[in-house]
């Protein structure tokens, strides 16, 4: 039986995630980790470790609060 699962897309972050974790001011960098609808990408897609993904999430949410990134769309 052939699996119907689509192959996973390559992670965005190819280097070590600890090199640079974008904070809420790096909006251009943070925008890469959002989908077209403004959702935060999963760890599978970002390639971040759990700790860095948490910091990324915090940065995106702070930027959203300040109106720098969208909540939707």
């Amino acid at each position: 039986m052939a699996s119907s699962r689509r192959p996973a897309l390559p992670p965005i972050n190819k280097s070590s995630c600890e090199d640079h974790i974008p904070n809420y001011k790096d909006t251009d960098h943070l925008r890469k980790f959002l989908t077209a609808h403004g959702q935060i990408l999963s760890r599978k897609r970002t390639g971040y470790c759990a700790q860095c993904q948490k910091a990324l999430k915090q940065g995106i949410k702070r930027a959203r609060h300040m109106g720098l990134l969208p909540f939707v769309g």
Partner: protein, 171 residues
């Protein structure tokens, strides 16, 4: 005393009057609550990702200051009520970045001029997508005869049903 980093979203209408006036909206409140302002500078003026208080654009100020933790809550309340500060973010930090000190000094120079914000910062009052697609006159023209027709049909239906029902019961 704890070192804090804060970003403030300021109303462009105030910034257009004077940048120092807009900056004092922040610094006055901070100093009122016992903060020692280390640096404050204009971070950016940009389009917002979503409209806040009917504004499409805003000016961001980035500030580093030392303050007692007990004064944060009353300061937050004051910023919540402020018209000039649309949004704020208060974070604890370990040190003031060297670049911030340089930029703060550059802004304090007498020849530093803040560029005026563009005029289109207000959200235009628009109808929804239905109103945009149709002409303004056409829905009114359609609605009036529709209401009359619907009222006429409703009035006829019960009578017809009653008339139909009566013979069946009699028979």
């Amino acid at each position: 005393m704890t070192l804090y980093e804060s970003m403030f979203l300021l109303d462009n209408a105030v910034v257009r009057e004077s940048w120092n006036k807009a900056k004092s909206a922040v610094t006055d409140t901070l100093e009122k609550h016992g903060a020692k302002v280390r640096t404050i500078r204009r971070w950016d003026e940009r389009k917002l990702a979503y409209s806040i208080k009917n504004k499409k654009r805003g000016t961001f100020a980035l500030c580093y200051y030392e303050m007692g933790t007990e004064n944060i809550a009353p300061m937050r309340r004051e910023f919540d009520l402020s018209d000039r500060v649309m949004r704020y973010l208060i974070l604890r930090t370990d040190e003031v970045p060297a670049t911030e000190l340089e930029l703060h000094q550059a802004e304090a120079a007498p020849d530093f001029a803040v560029p005026a914000p563009p005029p289109d910062d207000l959200v235009e009052p628009e109808m929804g997508p239905i109103g945009q697609g149709d002409d303004e006159g056409s829905p009114q023209e359609i609605m009036v005869p529709d209401l009359d027709e619907v009222g006429g049909d409703d009035g006829d239906r019960p009578r017809g049903k009653k008339n139909e029902g009566k013979p069946s019961t009699e028979a």
